[in-house]
Symmetry: C2
Subunit: 492 residues, 2 copies
């Protein structure tokens, strides 16, 4: 299999698909729309999980686990949520297979093993969780409940793409219950902020925090906060959402609590989630035509050492040096892999590690042994330098920080260059077609205008930024008065 990728300029979408497969991140499976996450891709996801999990725990959340299935009667209880997910859900109707009498060696569903009530494979867990919370909450003393769950969910999407939109995906979903509206809103914002911090500091992806318009809200939410990132092709990607659910689920599942004053009131809810979709954002923010580029904070191994040798004796000498470097790096908690496979030439190894985005590559050859140096290559800039052996660990330590920072700044510059203020609809369309990115424009606040713009341009309102300032203006489409700019973009 050729490791050479289609270039981004040639076909961005093809480049993405090829990269995901060739860098050993994931592949399509025998199940329509479901992916296999391969070990290298999963190792990146595990690093994301570990950091997020730590941040959730630091903000007072605990993990728990709720059932995969939602009985139909619970699924339909919160009307808007049901409406939002009913069209694309996997439904279990039977609990047994039997030998097919017409086809020897084949199985079929046993018609007598039909479930009394169908089970929906969770597309999200509000229904099953709020049905459970009803029994956990009697009084204000039981609140807040701050729970997170790491789980798989299924949404029967018709058009799927690895990581970005798959029928099954992995995610975490936080589900919290509060005594007051103010506390629930605070939680919603807090977790959106946690996501922003994680995505910026660990994934090196700058994001804009904002609020969704009504039409882009989570089904069943009163308000959806989000973090929006910009991909290299000028399309936006929603990287995480945090929902203020009001009392909608509490009312649908009859979850009341006794207040300090002894009254009965419905509980206030939030939910928030990020998913394996983040892997797509990671790829489309930093990678290049040679393959994946990983921020050091998320790389399965941050450094790879490739020996270059002609005979066993040279290999032994190089290995000795390599082992010393590894030991020093491990002491500084820098992860390193010694690629001593004898089935591949150094050039092929270089290409593979480049494709897989390893932040730093050390090459050690016979000349290096003589000079007490190594060759050090950066993945983000593709630049090389010769480093004196004595200084290698300290140089690497500094470079890893620099790379993490460089990736973020590069992405930030690109993102900032791709936020364009526009005043007219012609300008809007032109910027969208020629430059892409976020378009900051006035909007009259109506669904109709939003819908019309989407119809005409495929751009949607990504969010109303949290930091937007009040500014008198006229809607870019209708000319009606507007008080604040919103961000439009085509989106994944």
């Amino acid at each position: 299999m050729s490791k050479k990728l289609t270039s981004r300029a040639e076909d961005y979408s093809k480049w993405y698909n090829e990269l995901v497969v060739k860098a050993d991140l994931a592949e399509n499976s025998a199940v329509r729309g479901c992916m296999v996450i391969k070990p290298y891709g999963f190792a990146i996801w595990e690093k994301m999980q570990a950091e997020l999990d730590k941040m959730f725990k630091e903000t007072g959340h605990q993990n728990a686990y709720f059932p995969l299935f939602v009985p139909k009667s619970l699924f339909e209880a919160e009307e808007k949520n049901a409406e939002g997910f009913a069209k694309e859900c996997a439904v279990v109707t039977h609990y047994r297979l039997q030998n097919d009498p017409d086809k020897p060696g084949k199985l079929r569903v046993d018609p007598e093993a039909r479930l009394e009530e169908e089970l929906v494979v969770r597309p999200t867990s509000e229904a099953i969780i709020w049905n459970t919370y009803r029994n956990w909450i009697q009084s204000y003393r039981d609140l807040p409940i701050l729970i997170n769950q790491w789980a798989n969910v299924v949404r029967w999407e018709m058009r799927t793409r690895l990581f970005l939109r798959t029928a099954e995906f992995l995610w975490q979903e936080g589900h919290t219950a509060h005594a007051t509206k103010a506390e629930a809103i605070e939680e919603t914002k807090l977790m959106n902020g946690v996501y922003a911090k994680f995505v910026e500091n660990f994934m090196a992806i700058p994001v804009i925090q904002g609020v969704k318009t009504e039409s882009e809200r989570f089904a069943g939410a009163e308000d959806t906060y989000c973090i929006e990132a910009l991909m290299q092709d000028g399309k936006a990607l929603q990287a995480g959402t945090s929902h203020f659910l009001g009392q909608n689920f509490a009312k649908a599942f009859d979850v009341k609590y006794a207040t300090k004053e002894g009254k009965q009131d419905y509980v206030w809810a939030t939910s928030w989630g990020v998913s394996t979709r983040l892997m797509g954002a990671l790829i489309m923010t930093h990678s290049d035509d040679n393959g994946l580029v990983l921020p050091p904070n998320l790389a399965p191994y941050q450094v790879v050492i490739v020996p270059i040798y002609k005979n066993e004796e040279q290999f032994e000498a190089i290995s000795k040096v390599a082992e010393e470097i590894i030991s020093d790096l491990n002491d500084r908690e820098i992860s390193v892999k010694f690629d001593k496979r004898d089935t591949l030439r150094p050039g092929a190894k270089f290409a593979q590690h480049e494709l897989q985005g390893v932040p730093l590559r050390i090459a050690i050859g016979p000349k290096d042994l003589e000079n007490e140096t190594v060759e050090l290559a950066r993945r983000d800039t593709l630049s090389k330098q010769t480093v004196i052996l004595d200084r290698i660990t300290i140089v690497i330590e500094d470079l890893l920080e620099e790379i993490q920072e460089n990736l973020f700044n590069r992405a930030l510059d690109f993102r900032n260059e791709h936020i364009t203020n526009v005043e007219t609809f012609d300008e809007f369309k032109e910027v969208l077609e020629t430059k892409g990115g976020f378009i900051s424009a006035h909007w009259d606040g109506t669904n109709e205008t939003e819908e019309k713009i989407k119809e005409l341009t495929k751009a949607t309102i990504r969010c109303i930024p949290l930091d937007s300032k009040e500014e008198k203006g006229a809607c870019v489409y209708s000319g009606k008065p507007s008080k604040v700019r919103v961000l439009f973009a085509k989106a994944y």
Copy 2:
């Protein structure tokens, strides 16, 4: 809700169910046979996961993720495996719900959204994984593949019990591919050994390593290795299994590789798993009539501090001492919780922490402040001592080790007292009824005898221990010649 449990002597099974719910480990959900794992229970499972995951990685395994669904045509490919799981599986037949025309506000499956091919919710993942491995393996250079997956699986069991047997459960499943039979068998044994080490060292549960008889083997395996533990009520519990799958799945999914010599050969397979069932083993090995008893290695927090005070001033003074203890304990990586809730009296807190199995409890009252002491209570022995404040961290550090050891030794003594050699079938039945536990007896090696004994006594062969010695004897049931003793028991 009363926290008082039914005693074990009164009704062991009722005691178990009550303990699981009252100690906040898990509860039944609205979905038949599926449980909710509550935060406290999940925190224990997380500790198990973390340690197992570390051990898997140390033995060269990587994590990955494969789809939740198995298309029927793949499910049925390995005949014995299919036969073993077809009778109890959840089947997805539709991908959409629609408004029910007969019942306003209700949903029903959309008859037009029937899947062309039914999807089985994975009861185990050999089929989907070996179908994937076919594309990953061309030559001996691609082997071995050493992959593990943390996942949920579904088996439509008719009689379920929290943790022990649930329709959905969490587990890990290792799936490895090897070039030779010898290497695959070595892997099978290695992972059974990893399980034994984990369960003994972390869960403080002594286990017997052995091999299953043909009738107790995993569906599709050539050999099933296992670890068997003994519960307090004299019943055995299979705590983990490791399967040598031969070339069965490679043949069913046509997975061949080019050998070094350039020939084509089928790949050799293993799979191995432990599940949330381990939580049941943990509970039924150590707990008592007061509730859960946790080994320090698995306790969500190893120490709890309860302040005893009459006024705010006392509380402040106690808090100051508590914070110092916490800081010292944290320095030694001992986890501790300061229970400063003002909604519960100390006695109620004591009862709760006892019920939840916290290994050590510190109580600090005004007298303690005067004397510069604290009261320290052990959960495993229910004994108390007064400890000088200066010595508290070192005493705790030692005690946690002692408790971990004590729990293991206590369980080991019990287990060893409950392995009985018997020579006649009358003796067999008597020991089984009066004493329970493992019965070590000769068996003629036939399915018929095994089946007959099961029918007459409900005891099954738990395993042929790996360390059993050859010994001439006569089958306890048929009198036919036998070379080795096997272990019988009633089992969970």
